[in-house]
Point group: C2
Chain length 202, copies 2
């Protein structure tokens, strides 16, 4: 069972994550956190040194969750199916929130990349890891004839991640799944993605 | 010659745009604007009703500039060249800032799409217009055999804009042209973009 202190800490992180996503990190004040948690300022400072420490922890938790999401969604009977499944899970994930909040890494990237090199570095690592994991699946799919092989797997993985981030951006603006869904569909076609293995190309 | 009032107004807008891009709109306060412009608060309020009015004007100016950029960069001897030229100009534009600031529409999209429907609507219109103009060039290029014709021009245009926004995001994180440049290169290949007209397909 979790201690009262652990529960308090979790609540602070949960509320902070919502505020960072809806208002942005820079605009969220300790006063906002006090109001939204209903806690005393002293209690916040007992658990965290300040807003930066809370933000680091929020980012660290979100990173762990996202890596778990990647492991679960980049899965299937073969590499092509892994990528197709990842596309479907990514769309479902954002559909589930009604395109509110978006991608915490994309949001923080645009907010912090000029103002906070430490944060930018941490987010850059998340993107690098995301791209690397997708690149492994792309490379395997290329070996199976399930994705076009005339472009390097790393370049294709980076392009997949970029297109997804852009698709989320436009779906958030319209509060509609259409842009993200259509971007994923266009990705499938332009990648030449096939769920079945082309044995002749192995 | 511009009046003193016009110059003051321009200075406020210029400083506000920099602050909105570096800190975000929500985190920028009237106090920040006073400090950065070196003006009196009263002078700011003489020219604008408040932060929202300043933001609307910044967005409106940025939109006009961007439409002008689109007209100039989406140009060339034929539709395929127009698109290729647009890619080169977009990269050059962000290279020129060292990937600081990024795309004001992308930044504001991620910051405001959940919190301010009026702003989100204005930004959504910019994206729609951007996509429409690219779609015209894509459609013409498809008719000339300069872009693959198995995907609709509107879907391809949306995917181009999404990939560019994602590429800018990753280049800003790394402060390197590499991600955006590679995304544009992958776009060229996956679109089947050719600068020369394929007469046999006309």
């Amino acid at each position: 069972m979790k201690s009262k202190g652990e529960l308090t800490r979790e609540k602070i992180l949960e509320v902070a994550r919502e505020l960072f996503n809806s208002k942005g990190f820079n605009a969220t004040t300790i006063r906002d956190l006090v109001a939204a948690t209903g806690m005393q300022k002293g209690s916040l400072y007992f658990h965290f040194e300040g807003k930066d420490a809370i933000a680091r922890e929020v980012l660290s938790e979100a990173t762990a969750e996202f890596m778990d999401f990647l492991s679960k969604s980049l899965s299937g009977e073969n590499p092509g199916e892994c990528i197709d499944n990842f596309f479907r899970c990514a769309l479902k994930k954002h559909l589930g929130t009604g395109f509110v909040g978006g991608c915490i890494f994309g949001n923080t990237a645009l907010e912090m990349s000029d103002s906070d090199p430490e944060f930018a570095g941490a987010i850059d690592k998340v993107f690098d890891e995301w791209i690397s994991r997708v690149a492994v699946a792309v490379s395997n799919a290329q070996n199976n004839g399930q994705i076009r092989a005339d472009i390097g797997s790393k370049a294709l993985a980076q392009y997949i991640v970029a297109t997804i981030e852009g698709g989320i951006m436009m779906s958030r603006l319209k509060k509609s799944e259409r842009p993200m869904k259509e971007c994923l569909e266009t990705l499938r076609i332009t990648l030449g993605l096939r769920n079945e293995i082309q044995n002749n190309q192995q």
